[in-house]
Subunit: 376 residues, 2 copies
């Protein structure tokens, strides 16, 4: 694969929607935060943040959002046409040095203190930016990531479809999940089914963990063949319109033993407790505790060795992170995962996960595949 | 997929070799460069560079390489056991804040000027490092990337196997490449075949571009069905032992038209010219020109819209970049790609690419699939 395409056409997503007003509203909210921090503008360099604020999905772009006045986009020649189509209201500077071009623009416009994303810009790049123009660059924290935590309904719509694709792919692949099939074959079948159902691709590397491998939370699917008597944990999701679905189901191959059914029921109850607690205003650590307490009461507290879940959106892992050691409150319209698990070394494990949206009236489940134990 | 695993086991590669002496030699070469730059040590934070210098493939690790004295590795608890196995000769600091732990260590050891990778460390992280300990941090450039350009024979061996897997996968999938099959299905078949042949996965997102889509160098494989009369460009490669193969072949579905055969022959001759020019001491832009001149002489200069190729190794795109606007010389044992292409809008395109190693006696081709035009 070559690297230096001079006129590489953009990878066009069929999901690029004309959401001009939505993106304008996001930029207005950001401009208000920039003004609060006493900065004249924010230089946005994280590509996922540029996408959030403009709709442009580019491998080279940056955005200057003044506290007061219109934003300016920079991208290179490959994406200029797409930018004109996706965000026609924005002036576009066409330059390969996107961030440098925008700090020059800021200096020309007499902007004084310009915020930048210190968690994204490397020290080398920072030096180059200061060399490019006479501006003061001030780290302002993760302003765009903070905005991104609460989703607008357009985003929830895309995430809902990503989850629907995930549900349909699971249903399509169910007949192939049986003794004798390798973990890797299940992973490939799921990923293929997600694409067939409309995904741009998998949202992350699928986890298929069978039998004793189920004791490894992040098991990488390998050549082990599913066997009668296995529990099989499948953690996967579809990418749709840039949004990441995330679902885990654990199934039994053949009639499960009593301990397996008990373990499944325990995790199922723990997950239900987390869903019931996931309300606006709840502390994330309390939602984690709702599930963790159920598991700890059954004597398996040590075996639930990770946090309850995380935000999802344009990234598979976003704010808020939900664990016993995390702080923060849930809010209306924050999509999260709830994914308790119990992992028993050399025996196996169970994890059950949904993607849901926190709502005032109780969570809206986006993944809707049954959580009854499927015996295949 | 959860994010905060407390005891997530490492993803184990079956290709982790006990290459202690090789890694020690790499660290010795780096230490000499560090001494030349008047630094007491280099703090290596780029994970791919840590892997190169230690063999440890971790998602959280850093390495302190003094100009004089033994190196110190830092990683978190998930990888401590793997580190002991892969690089038992290295002292390991187990800490989640890997870089912070190593600058503290440097300060305790009385190291004065410590180099760091300014192209990797963000401004936010740099501030945290300076807060963690009293050290002077100095940007030293891309020292490890410079070392990585010339490969040792262990690396070339892994790359050779990655390319052999790629060749075998292509051969295995050939019978499935026919009219009526979608681009996406070809991509999935190739990726599955690579895994079946021993790959850890694809080295990058495969490009399958059929008929008029062949005019788009980076075409994303879609739902278009191959048709009689198409040229089909397939750009793909296997990941093996951390090393990235990269190969492109263009085939014809049914008997090609005269213009298609002419175009193929042109690109084939251009690629052969590049291979002949790829000798130690050659300027990279001259190797690019060897291919570009052939295509320009046939009147298609504008239609070869990217550089000739790039280095490959632990990353799919490494130094040296090879294009008409790039400077630098080839050296013995530098693996590169040679991938000229011609793209005719609305008609189609041809690209032919090999991965090869620059050798004194002429290039060693690592991808060996035939470059005769295959008519399927």
């Amino acid at each position: 694969m070559f690297v230096t395409a001079l006129r590489r056409p953009p990878r066009r997503s069929s999901r690029v929607l004309a959401m001009g007003e939505t993106h304008r509203a996001r930029r207005r909210r950001l401009a208000a935060l920039v003004a609060e921090r006493d900065a004249a503008a924010l230089l946005v360099t994280r590509l996922v943040n540029v996408r959030y604020l403009t709709g442009l999905d580019s491998s080279r772009a940056a955005l200057l959002v003044p506290a007061d006045g219109p934003a300016v986009l920079a991208t290179d020649g490959r994406y200029a046409g797409m930018a004109a189509q996706v965000c026609p209201e924005l002036p576009v500077v066409v330059d390969r040095q996107v961030a440098e071009a925008l700090v020059k623009r800021a200096a020309e416009d007499g902007l004084g203190r310009v915020g930048f994303e210190a968690h994204d810009v490397t020290v080398e790049h920072h030096t180059a930016l200061l060399d490019a123009a006479e501006v003061e660059l001030a780290p302002l924290g993760r302003l765009v990531e903070e905005l991104r935590m609460v989703k607008d309904e357009e985003e929830i719509g895309l995430l809902r479809e990503a989850c629907a694709v995930t549900d349909r792919a699971f249903e399509a692949v169910l007949p192939e999940i049986r003794a004798g099939v390798t973990e890797r074959a299940v992973a490939i079948a799921l990923e293929r089914a997600m694409v067939d159902e409309g995904a741009e691709g998998p949202a992350f590397e699928s986890i298929i963990a069978s039998g004793p491998n189920g004791a490894v939370p992040h098991h990488h699917p390998g050549g082990r063949e599913l066997q009668r008597g296995d529990l099989v944990t499948m953690d996967f999701g579809a990418l749709y319109g840039g949004y990441h679905a995330d679902m885990t189901r654990t199934v039994a191959i053949g009639e499960p033993a009593a301990w397996q059914r008990d373990l499944y029921d325990l995790v199922h109850r723990a997950q239900a407790a987390a869903l019931a607690a996931a309300l606006p205003g709840a502390e994330t650590k309390d939602v984690d505790a709702a599930a963790r307490d159920v598991i700890a009461d059954a004597g398996h507290g040590e075996a639930f060795s990770h946090g309850l879940g995380h935000g999802v959106g344009l990234e598979i892992h976003e704010a808020p992170l939900m664990g016993y050691d995390k702080t923060g409150k849930l809010m209306d319209r924050v999509p999260i995962t709830a994914e308790p698990g119990v992992y028993l070394t050399d025996r196996g494990g169970v994890r059950i996960e949904d993607t849901l949206v926190v709502r005032a009236g109780g969570p809206e489940l986006l993944t809707t595949t049954t959580k009854d134990l499927l015996v295949l």
